[in-house]
């Protein structure tokens, strides 16, 4: 009887959390639709973005056989599309960090998970919509070769989302306390621009700098986000493929560490700020 009541209460709790996530999504959607010119410019940006990257890649097109067995344009367009898909996960929670909304939303008594997921949901859904035209333009205009395995893509995206949400929560938790730049995320982002392999395969770092330098890349969580997504979209790996599974497992280690750590740091940040009396500060 007690277990049944407990399960019922849990189910009610989940329903409330889902409703809260839905509330954030609809609020952000409604708000987004009021910025008409922004809507148009965002759509235009998708096309301009993919075309500019595509033109650059066509100019320097070369084989990326070492890691993904594909050409550079496929590698780059897929990378840009992934970047476009995942960055909102990092930006979403931080965008809510202002004194006018944070305090009020926290007084509704909502849970941390619903707060975090709710704040990224609309941005993420929007980026999924923009992800598709990126790929369509890539395939039909720049002849990108996709070799995607859908179940593997889904798993890779889930692992990537966990890694990035973990990073977002770490950054947000620290920023709630410092009210300024988060040194951890800043350092990771600086390293990412060189080492994460957004625009080139990380193994080329060994030839550009010195042998072994690409090891640094594999210590960065973002490298694994790009790597797992590219593997699943460019090399058609099945989920039973041991090579892919090993890579997935390595990436998952980051997810398993960063997600709970991020969650704890976010909660620590909120509590610390409550103790300092600075929650409403910006």
């Amino acid at each position: 009887m007690g277990i049944r009541i407990d399960l019922r209460q849990r189910w009610i709790g989940i329903r409330v959390a889902l409703r809260q996530i839905w509330a954030f999504t609809m609020r952000d959607y409604h708000s987004w639709t009021t910025y008409r010119s922004t809507v148009y410019t965002q759509i235009i940006n998708i096309f301009i973005g993919v075309i500019s990257w595509g033109v650059n890649a066509t100019y320097v097109n070369r084989q990326v056989s070492q890691m993904y067995g594909t050409d550079y344009i496929s590698f780059l367009v897929v990378g840009v599309a992934i970047g476009n898909l995942i960055m909102p996960l990092v930006q979403g929670v931080q965008s809510e960090l202002n004194p006018w909304t944070l305090e009020t939303i926290l007084t509704t008594g909502m849970g941390t998970s619903a707060f975090v997921i709710g704040n990224v949901m609309w941005r993420y859904l929007f980026s999924v919509f923009t992800f598709i035209p990126y790929l369509i333009i890539g395939i039909y205009v720049f002849h990108v070769t996709l070799n995607a395995n859908v179940p593997s893509v889904i798993v890779a995206f889930i692992v990537s989302a966990a890694i990035l949400l973990g990073l977002a929560m770490i950054s947000t938790g620290v920023r709630i306390v410092t009210k300024s730049t988060d040194p951890i995320t800043w350092a990771i982002n600086v390293l990412q621009s060189i080492f994460a392999g957004v625009a080139f395969p990380v193994v080329y770092l060994d030839t550009i700098f010195f042998p072994g330098v690409s090891m640094i890349s594999w210590l960065l969580p973002q490298t694994w986000v790009y790597h797992l997504c590219r593997l699943s979209m460019l090399t058609n790996p099945s989920l039973s493929d041991p090579q892919f599974l090993i890579q997935l497992l390595k990436g998952s280690v980051f997810a398993f560490i960063l997600f709970p750590v991020g969650y704890k740091i976010f909660q620590w940040g909120v509590n610390r700020s409550k103790k300092e009396g600075t929650l409403g500060w910006y």
Partner: protein
């Protein structure tokens, strides 16, 4: 602790870290958040602090409209933020409907809603209705129920005509009404307001105050409001507490606070015109000899006309003996005024900010 009270605090203490070298007292929050602060926290460095609350004890009954008065920096907002779980206290205890605010903040927030003017939390691009709907879902209210509650709240606050206008088109008064709607969405039994009418013009302030009183009486809510507005407190609150430098220094009904603050009152008596003479002088001497009279000052104009007397007397003194002495002297009384202390007088007296004690006509 008992669940007898809607709100109860026991020896509540709150300290804020500051960059300053000294440990001060009183409300204002010190120190800024920064990367340096982050390093201090990591290195567990002890920093100087100021005490915003210094052992606050309050008991607020269910259904009461309770006002918290205090000068700037007295600790009002800190106390409200502790009660709505936005600030963690350092020592003491705080309970909302018997629930410890530190131990179970989620349960506390089911019993209490706070309206903090500086943290509006509304999206400027959405309509009033969309904003309320968003919060209704965050409070866990179902879709249909949310729509019903929102419509009824718009009707209550008179915002129904403007419900579908963008929030950015709302006047300050309308924005404040929307805040009230939001606080009532979750149907929490306790409502906290920090400076509820600050920034409103007088008609809007009166309207908002009336709405709060109606909410408390007809919807059976406990209302806890901090304010600088003494007139508002006197008019709206069943009881008030005065907080200064982080301590509650008085807590009672507005009338009791007014009377307890002073041990005397002032009686003003105006006479029909008569030239001041020796008989009147004797009458004044006789008055001053009466037990309970502190002073009797005649008001004589430049033509020597005896216009009236101002008498300072014990606040509980029987006035008949005074009138008897005056009548005996043959003076004809035109008007009698009892000059009552206002809540503002009492507040200034209690907080020690009275430049010189003075009474005002009601």
């Amino acid at each position: 602790m008992t669940a007898e009270y809607a709100i109860e605090t026991i020896d509540l203490v709150k300290r804020y870290p500051t960059r300053g070298p000294t440990m001060g007292r009183g409300g204002g929050r010190g120190g800024g958040a920064s990367f340096g602060l982050f390093l201090d926290i990591i290195m567990r460095k002890k920093r100087p602090f100021i005490e915003a609350l210094r052992g606050v004890n309050l008991q607020i009954k269910r259904g009461e409209v309770f006002g918290l008065l205090g000068p700037n920096g007295a600790g009002k907002t800190t106390l409200i933020k502790i009660l709505c779980t936005l600030v963690l206290h350092d020592e003491g205890e705080a309970y909302v409907n018997g629930i410890d605010v530190k131990k179970d903040p989620h349960a506390v927030l089911k019993n209490l809603q706070a309206v903090l003017p500086e943290s509006r939390g509304f999206n400027w691009r959405l309509t009033g209705r969309q904003n309320l709907y968003f919060y209704a879902l965050l409070y866990g209210v179902g879709k249909k129920e949310a729509e019903e509650r929102i419509n009824s709240l718009f009707e209550f606050t008179g915002l129904q005509e403007r419900a579908d206008d963008g929030y950015q088109r709302y006047s300050t008064g309308m924005q404040r009404k929307l805040l009230l709607c939001r606080s009532l969405l979750s149907d929490a039994p306790i409502l906290l307001f920090d400076e509820p009418t600050a920034g409103l013009d007088p008609p809007s302030a009166i309207e908002f105050r009336d709405m709060l009183s109606e909410v408390a009486k007809e919807r059976d809510k406990t209302v806890f409001a901090s304010t600088h507005n003494l007139f508002e407190a006197q008019r709206m609150c069943d009881r008030i507490a005065i907080i200064d430098q982080g301590k509650i220094i008085a807590c009672d009904t507005p009338d009791n606070i007014r009377y307890k603050a002073f041990d005397e009152r002032i009686l003003g008596i105006t006479f029909h015109e008569v030239i001041f003479n020796e008989g009147h002088k004797k009458m004044l001497d006789e008055l001053e000899k009466l037990y309970g009279i502190h002073s009797a000052t005649p008001e004589i104009n430049s033509d020597g006309i005896f216009e009236g007397i101002t008498i300072r007397l014990d606040k509980d003194m029987d006035l008949s003996s005074i009138l008897e002495v005056i009548m005996k002297s043959g003076l004809k009384i035109k008007m009698i005024n009892t000059q009552e202390p206002t809540l503002e007088d009492a507040f200034m007296e209690i907080t020690g900010r009275h430049p010189e004690r003075r009474m005002r006509r009601p």
